[in-house]
Amino acid sequence: MPSESRSERVEVRKTYKLYVGGAFPRSESGRSYVVSDAHGRFLANAALASRKDARDAVVAALKAWPGWSARTGYNRDQILYRIAEMLEGRRDQFAAEVAAAEGLSRARAEAQVSAAIDRWVWYAGWADKLAQVLGSSNQVAGPYFDFSVPESTGVVAAVAPQRSTLLGLVSVVAPIIAGGNTCVVLAAEDRPLPAVSLAEVLATSDLPGGVVNILTGRAAEVAPWLASHLDVHGLDLTGIEDSALAVDLERAAAGNLKRVLLPEQEPDWTASPGLSRMRAFLETKTVWHPVGI
């Protein structure tokens, strides 16, 4: 960091902690690690999450799941839209953080932030429409009313993209929760700060604690504990760049037949996402009922 001249104001620097159950704890391990910008300059110390932090995050996500999934789609829509409102209010902060994390020009960073906010708005509007688009009433050959509805899978552990620190992050998190799931997110290892700031946005947006939990740290250390955790129902491996690790995690996920989303190499995050990320963590429930007097 350049030394401050005597006439400049000494700033109050933020402490970057974990976001679990709606609160901001440090890692129970007491560890932290150095986060640098794209040019290797010191930005901050981030909490280095341990397996116990991951365990606590899963507890929080599991506890939040019944309430979150029971809310009406309209209610989730409004909460997610509120998050977009909060993000918009903090454009400048996020632009600065994304620029520093990814080594982007201010203008390119701002474009990323705009896209991230718009992405969030897009997903917000899905919350009350999934049943109409993905569900159906089915014309079975008998006197039965037969319908299929999408339902949330449960707790999803997600590894955020390593390089797209806000747009990519949002593109992974929003579809998970729009459908009623809760999640534990492992932020980009070397560029975690925008994710922690996102946590601050979530904490001020009426989003119930535990719906999204954000850990900062090493995927190789923490992800295996999430992949094998029997209270985790879905696994999003988007941000795993080590293909051997990805295979190990997929194998571990088989233990309780988690729904797995495989890693994507450098996707174009600006492209329209389609339904696949929401579908990945939605179940289909079919109900039959006789029709008669």
Partner: protein, 477 residues
């Protein structure tokens, strides 16, 4: 004198400011009429004049359509869906922020109880904009092809029974799909539309996307027959709906209609009785019975007739009729002297045809337009009050013996908007739902609306659906 008298609990009028004069909202601002004339809008509970409004003339209508066309060509049509979405979200949010003010305004102009405007009309209107905002950038998922296009300019005419809500039902999907609109509110209830115009300005909605022309039936006729309107949407009486359909024949204009009804509310012997009674009361007395989908015919299974009627009458004695701005009022004023005359006339017909009339004793205010909640027993299918839409707080009670008979009687009408079914037996609910020729079937509930749920009629209750992805169809090519 009751043991527990509820003291007056008036909602304050101070929260809303009503201008003394309103022009027309064209091209993003309020403008004076070229060839129209002023008229007054009145508070039906007190008969006081609320404001002077402008009845648009033919040149005004033309100006409005031209403004809509220009906005469509230059701004709204080319605008990407995600940007249209953001304007609609803004409108939804502002409606939420200003909901108390809008609710009071609605009750003043329409006569409905403040509790209803506050708890039903406003939340639903905002929700409609919220939900359709989310469709604006997802049209390719709605089931109408990979790149659905808007129609152009929509001419929309709405009724006086749910002024702001009907405005939301019309404008939200139209704008979400990329159309621009010219809307005509009912002549007796223009004020919340005027407030909505202000909301459009606050939201920064581009000029000409929404235009509002006030006036009576002639203004509506001019609007729907204007040659540069691509799509017509009308909610109102079947009679006028028929006229519109005739008028636009051969023009290629798309048309959706949401018209009258004479819904049957069917109560079986195994209904959850107390909740069924609530459903009957809600079905016909909610909004003073000014509801197209009102459960105006009670079809009660003969074996539980006495029990249901006893409970119903007892329940009706706790309905509070009076000042719409009192938070404890259940039944407000009838919207206009014309409507009151119609309700009275048909009630006289009912008595003359031999049905037995009953109302709970209630004191009606001296000024304003009032009618007590009323039921007629001994009604049969052949009675006029079983066939004609009264559009007031008047319930006709008929009986039936078997499910098949209930279906037959329920369907025996040119209308087909809604129906109610009350029974604890799931299979019978579904069996009835399958056979009722009605666009909306409510089972063990009534008068439920949601922007995600398609609403509309069969037969002479109209065609087209509002709500859900189905509601987009009317506004897409």
């Amino acid at each position: 004198m009751a043991v527990f008298e509820y003291a007056p609990a008036p909602e304050s009028r101070a929260v809303v400011h009503v201008d003394s004069h309103y022009g027309l909202f064209i091209g993003g601002e309020f403008v004076e009429s070229e060839d129209g004339s002023p008229f007054k809008t009145v508070n039906p509970a007190t008969e006081e004049v609320l404001a002077e409004v402008t009845a648009a003339g033919p040149r005004d209508v033309d100006r409005a359509v031209r403004a809509a066309r220009e906005a469509y060509e230059k701004v709204w049509g080319p605008m990407p869906g995600h940007d249209r979405a953001k304007y609609l979200y803004r409108i939804a949010r502002i409606m939420q922020e200003r909901s108390r003010e809008l609710a009071v305004l609605e009750s003043l102009d329409n006569g409905k109880p403040i509790r209803e405007s506050r708890d039903v009309d406003l939340p639903l209107a905002a929700a409609w904009f919220f939900s359709y905002a989310g469709w604006a950038d997802k049209l390719e998922y709605a089931g109408f092809g990979p790149d659905p296009r808007p129609l152009g300019v929509a001419g929309q005419v709405i009724p006086w029974n749910f002024p702001l809500l009907m405005l939301a039902w019309k404008i939200a999907p139209a704008l979400a799909c990329g159309n621009t609109v010219v809307l005509k509110p009912a002549e007796t209830t223009p004020l919340t539309a005027m407030a909505f115009a202000d909301i459009c300005r606050q939201a920064g909605l581009p000029a000409g996307v929404v235009n509002i022309v006030t006036g009576a039936g002639d203004v509506g006729a001019a609007l729907v027959s204007h040659s540069d309107v691509n799509k017509v949407a009308f909610t109102g009486s079947t009679e006028v709906g028929r006229q519109i359909a005739e008028a636009i024949a051969g023009t290629g204009k798309r048309l959706t209609l949401e018209l009258g009804g004479k819904a049957a509310n069917v109560v079986f012997e195994d209904a959850p009785l107390d909740q069924a009674v609530e459903g009957i009361v809600n079905g016909i007395f909610f909004n003073q019975g000014h509801v197209c989908c009102a459960g105006s015919r009670l079809l009660v299974q003969e074996s539980v007739y006495d029990e249901v009627l006893d409970r119903l009458k007892q329940r009706m004695t706790t309905l509070r009729v009076g000042d719409p701005l009192d938070k404890n009022t259940d039944i407000g004023a009838i919207n206009s002297p014309a409507q009151l005359a119609k309700i009275r006339e048909l009630s006289e017909v009912g008595a003359a045809e031999g049905a037995e009339r009953w109302s709970a004793p209630c004191e009606l205010p001296e000024h304003g337009y009032w009618f007590p909640p009323t039921l007629f027993t001994g009604v049969t299918q052949a009675h006029r009050i079983a066939r004609e839409e009264i559009f007031g707080p008047v319930l006709s009670v008929l009986t039936f013996r078997t499910p098949a008979e209930a279906v037959e009687k329920a369907n025996n009408t040119p209308y087909g908007l809604s129906a109610g079914v009350w029974t604890e037996k799931g299979s019978r609910i579904l069996w009835m739902a399958e056979r009722l020729r009605a666009g909306v079937v409510w089972a063990n509930t009534f008068n439920k609306f949601d922007p995600a749920s398609p609403f509309g009629g069969y037969k002479e209750s109209g065609y087209g659906r509002e709500g859900g992805r189905h509601g987009l169809e009317a506004y897409l090519a």
